[in-house]
Symmetry: C2
Subunit: 362 residues, 2 copies
């Protein structure tokens, strides 16, 4: 047996590693060391958060590389082997970017809302349902609080939560750590015990675009298929007063359109890091009063019906200015809206915090 | 937009593809077409079921290849890019071989026990628990039948089911399709409504080997940690009469040792495709009467306590002769054991059928 390798001082294996792999390793400064055995490859790179880093080959054909310090949170990454972007065999995989991706998790100092604690734990179930929209069996994920199984007479409010583009129904449960966030908030008495349902919104070939017509297939999936199924399968409080919707990025756009245009179904809406207000499709002058009829011109009606309207964005996300502009426009027209920003780019850490914040407002 | 490509006649996209990828594709003869875009790579191969196949590059840098016809069932595979074994970005990933792997699923004609049908569906939950063995929070998977949520007074028998080497607690639920198998059997009235618990047995650095001492850490994990947790968290029938254990390959070895040596805990045991009886570790002369004290010399006591002892193996699995030999030895000594073999090698299709068979015996 070869001598046990000495690891760089202060470094730790990433919590997202599988099969007890020592690499990738987090360095004290937030940079990450990667390794890959690839004796025959000509070039190997790390691809993380929009930057590529060359790795160096040693005499045994093992490539090593280090990326710049990364901010806290969850970052997708890939390794590039002779031009092909692949997952790292040392990493757990997560569905993002339209494929399974590797990822690292950098703990954030001073916050503990993402830590698994010795509190009552809910569970995340994968459930099958038949969709009339896709004419096929599909899966969705459901978080139920710890008391759901011990309190068979209790009924619960439901939050419908949506992933971003290139992700699916697993995103909020795996990348988002929804169950940990809810378990901790519930244990602290900071939010209501709530069922959280995560639906796969990839029901059409394309995204359908940020317009009402493009939202219709998923609106039907969610409102005509999923909600009746959930209200039958789970002990829900099956009325608008106890039903809310939120989502990130593409899911934020869906929450804007479907949530705000379906107030007979939802009473609270959260829109996280949407690019819909401009910055992505160049829709800087989106007429939100037309897209959601009367949202500005008849703000009072929305104020009466909406218990919560939360808009959030990462502080380093290029989408933030457009979100701020639209929030100002809403406020100028008398619409009651809360805006929050969190450190981070277009990534999971601000989205986790958005959920954490939204849950406390419900 | 380029003209829509014509697909080979009679071919279909694999059901394990993600993001609507057209490749890999199943051909009518059971062979599979693969593709990968890799303009800079020097060599790309398919690696499936122990065979490698060279892929060919076209002028656009897209590599294509075809493997030999494959038998029905679930097959892990990888693509090899300049010597590095990687997942196919077009495939869903599954934890096997100690890493996330790509896989294809070839439907078996004439059987429908793996089809999602319009019957009441149970659900698969991911649950966190604290392990005193690993001193950490861990996850396990639990299947609960459809009636579990509609019948809050009903209590259920429990099957503890174990994955193979290089796999984890997700294996039986994802690769194994446990929920579909149980949903269908329950709907047909062919098995009892049963909770199925799949624990991650990777509690030690190595496998511990096929000896009793090597089994002790996982025995403690299962019997001292998991079972009391499940009996508290779920509505179980918490006695030996209603508790069984089975597993595949490494999990079959665990079922042999832990199941048969813990008849105060379990009343039925299933051992699927174990290599423990020889063929892998050269343990052809394993003294099973010593390993499970009295199993042969005091067979009557085991017959009295064991409601079911099922041993199975794939007919093309090199382990089958050793399994048959041990079954004969058991029968010669008066131990009541059922042996079944199913078409297939050391793969998931015989394991799914073993579960399907075992459930009907319980």
């Amino acid at each position: 047996m070869p001598p046990r390798e000495t690891m760089p001082e202060g470094s730790v294996a990433m919590e997202t590693n599988i099969n007890k792999h020592s690499y990738p390793r987090l360095m004290p400064d937030g940079s990450i060391l990667f390794r890959l055995r690839a004796p025959e490859a000509q070039r190997v790179q790390i691809d993380i958060c929009g930057e590529k880093y060359d790795m160096q080959r040693d005499d045994n054909g093992v490539w090593s590389g280090q990326c710049a310090p990364q901010v806290p949170g969850f970052h997708y990454y890939a390794l590039i082997v002779d031009g092909v972007s692949v997952t790292d065999p040392a990493s757990e995989t997560y569905y993002g970017c339209g494929r399974q991706m590797s990822a690292v998790e950098i703990p954030e100092k001073g916050v503990d809302y993402l830590e698994i604690k010795d509190v009552p734990h809910g569970k995340v179930s994968t459930v099958r349902y038949y969709s009339q929209v896709t004419q096929s069996w599909r899966e969705l994920c459901v978080y139920t609080p710890a008391s759901y199984d011990t309190n068979p007479d209790k009924r619960y409010p439901v939050l419908y939560i949506q992933h971003g583009g290139g992700e699916d129904h697993r995103g909020w449960m795996q990348q988002g750590k929804t169950d940990i966030i809810l378990d901790n908030l519930i244990a602290e008495g900071k939010c209501k015990e709530t069922i959280v349902v995560s639906t796969n919104s990839n029901v059409t070939a394309g995204m359908g675009g940020y317009k009402w017509e493009g939202m219709l297939p998923f609106r039907s999936e969610l409102i005509d298929n999923v909600i009746p199924f959930i209200d039958k399968k789970f002990r829900t409080l099956a009325d608008r007063e106890h039903r809310s919707m939120c989502g990130l990025s593409m899911g934020g756009g869906q929450s804007f359109y479907i949530g705000l245009r379906s107030l007979e179904t939802f009473s609270a809406v959260g829109i996280f890091s949407t690019g819909m207000f401009g910055g992505i499709n160049g829709a800087a002058s989106m007429e939100i009063d037309k897209e959601v009829p009367g949202l500005l011109s008849n703000a009072k009606e929305y104020n009466d019906k909406l218990k919560v309207l939360l808009i959030t964005c990462g502080e380093q996300d290029m989408r933030i200015e457009h979100n701020k502009r639209v929030v100002k426009q809403m406020k100028d027209n008398g619409l009651e809206v809360v805006f929050e920003s969190f450190a981070g780019d277009h990534e999971w850490q601000p989205w986790r915090k958005s959920l954490w914040r939204f849950m406390q407002m419900l």
